[in-house]
């Protein structure tokens, strides 16, 4: 009784395993979300299309779409949806599900950045902005990282001069004091969620 049993019915799978997935079937295909998204010119599919594809059982096309990874979390789609679907949350949920199943597009820059962001904050309980930025620059290797770092030198220097970037964060930086407690909470929450959504840990 895992996802395999649901493969014939992708909508049921989404309802059972995706955050806010039970709301998908309420979409009436009006397209206001598609017209409201700031990254509308770039995606493969609009939320409207994604929701119809889910109902049509297009599992692979949905989960491998880059659409969810174009979400800037601006919440325009939620604010404007006449049926009040939590579209942003559904897109985030689909992104998480596709990523966890390993079906999300490989090397998709926002997927990579988002994963790095969570790992960064989960390590010490607070975001280390310097490591996050450097990690992002160097994700495609040392050469690309140095090139990107040099290209963005002016931005970094400006922030450094304004005391809004600390080079010493490379040696540690901000963190929560009860780190073991924080880690225990994250691990337990993930364990419960994975069990609930039928995901392998």
């Amino acid at each position: 009784m895992t996802e395999a049993a649901y493969r014939n019915d992708f909508l049921k799978e989404v309802e059972a395993h995706v955050e806010a997935g039970h709301e998908v079937k309420r979409c009436m295909q009006c397209g206001v979300c598609a017209g409201s998204c700031p990254f509308g010119p770039y995606w493969q599919h609009s939320p409207q299309k994604i929701f119809m594809m889910i109902r049509a059982g297009k599992r692979e096309a949905v989960l491998s779409s880059d659409a969810m990874w174009m979400c800037t979390s601006c919440y325009n789609c939620i604010a404007r949806c006449p049926r009040k679907l939590p579209i942003t949350h559904i897109m985030h949920g689909l992104a998480n599900y596709a990523h966890r199943l390993g079906l999300a597009p490989k090397g998709q820059p926002t997927r990579d950045f988002a994963v790095m962001f969570w790992q960064n904050l989960a390590r010490r309980g607070r975001v280390n902005e310097l490591k996050l930025t450097l990690g992002h620059y160097f994700k495609d290797g040392i050469g690309a990282g140095i090139k990107q770092g040099l290209a963005m030198k002016a931005v970094g220097l400006g922030l450094y001069k304004a005391k809004r970037l600390n080079p010493l964060e490379i040696f540690g930086g901000h963190k929560v004091a009860d780190l073991s407690g924080f880690h225990a909470i994250v691990a337990k929450a993930r364990e419960i969620e994975d069990r609930k959504r039928g995901l392998a840990s």
Binding site: A114, G125, L159, V186, A189
Partner: protein, 297 residues
Amino acid sequence: MAKKNIAFYPGCSSQRKSSAANYLTSARAMCEKLDITMNEIPDWNCCGASVGYAEGGELPRLAITARNFALAEQHLPGQDMVSTCAACWLATRETQERLAASPQLMQETNEALAAANLVYQGQVKVRHMVEVLIEDIGYEALKTPVVKPLQGIKFAGYVGCQTNRPFGIAGESFENPLYLDKLIEIAGGEAVPYDQKVTCCGGALAFSEPDKAQRQIRQIVESAYDPGAAMIVTPCPLCQANGEVYQSEINKKQNTRFNMPVLYYAQLLAVAYGATAAEAGLDGQVIRAARLENIAA
């Protein structure tokens, strides 16, 4: 004025030498003048922000924010939990509402919190600093401490996304919220008509999709120049950073000559209330706001 105590949640970007350090500096100066005591939630952690979903999923995200709730309940009982950061406020408010609406999520969250001997009792009231200003203190009373009105300076009030959608400030519309313009006017400045008021700056995708985000940022900055604004004002740390630090990149790539300071409402009010340039965090600007520095002592 009645003294107000808040359980303050600064968030990662407001920490010392982080990207919005000057937001916290100016918020402190502003709150001091308004007799608001900011009690930092002890040992708070990151809210997960918006982009945490990909690896974080739902429950881990709710649980880390609930850890902050539990700490606030335990150490600062009865005080509203107040954020200055848009993403912190959004994540905390979303968590509060989801847990209040779902006994199952509440139970699972507390199961996770128990791993660190914490418990969330559902008592925390989540708010944004702007709500404290306009709902608890009120527009009229916000004028009282003004000693140096920012006369003759035109500002474009850039509200952005997450202080506006999906929750927003009570009584404001999603498409044309007015509170920021009112705060600009209270500080003595002039709020210009600004058609990119609620346009997305690209958020975290300024990192992962720089060209696409910079297209948004170009619109936001260019449209502030059009009605003659000298500076942009925002309530959001990411709007501020994206709007300010990428102007040089856009200039380089697109042959523009942008040089528009991007400030926080707290900096405007702090200066108007008589704070020094340093107290108002003006030394934290990448694009300096010379006219504000001149007004500040």
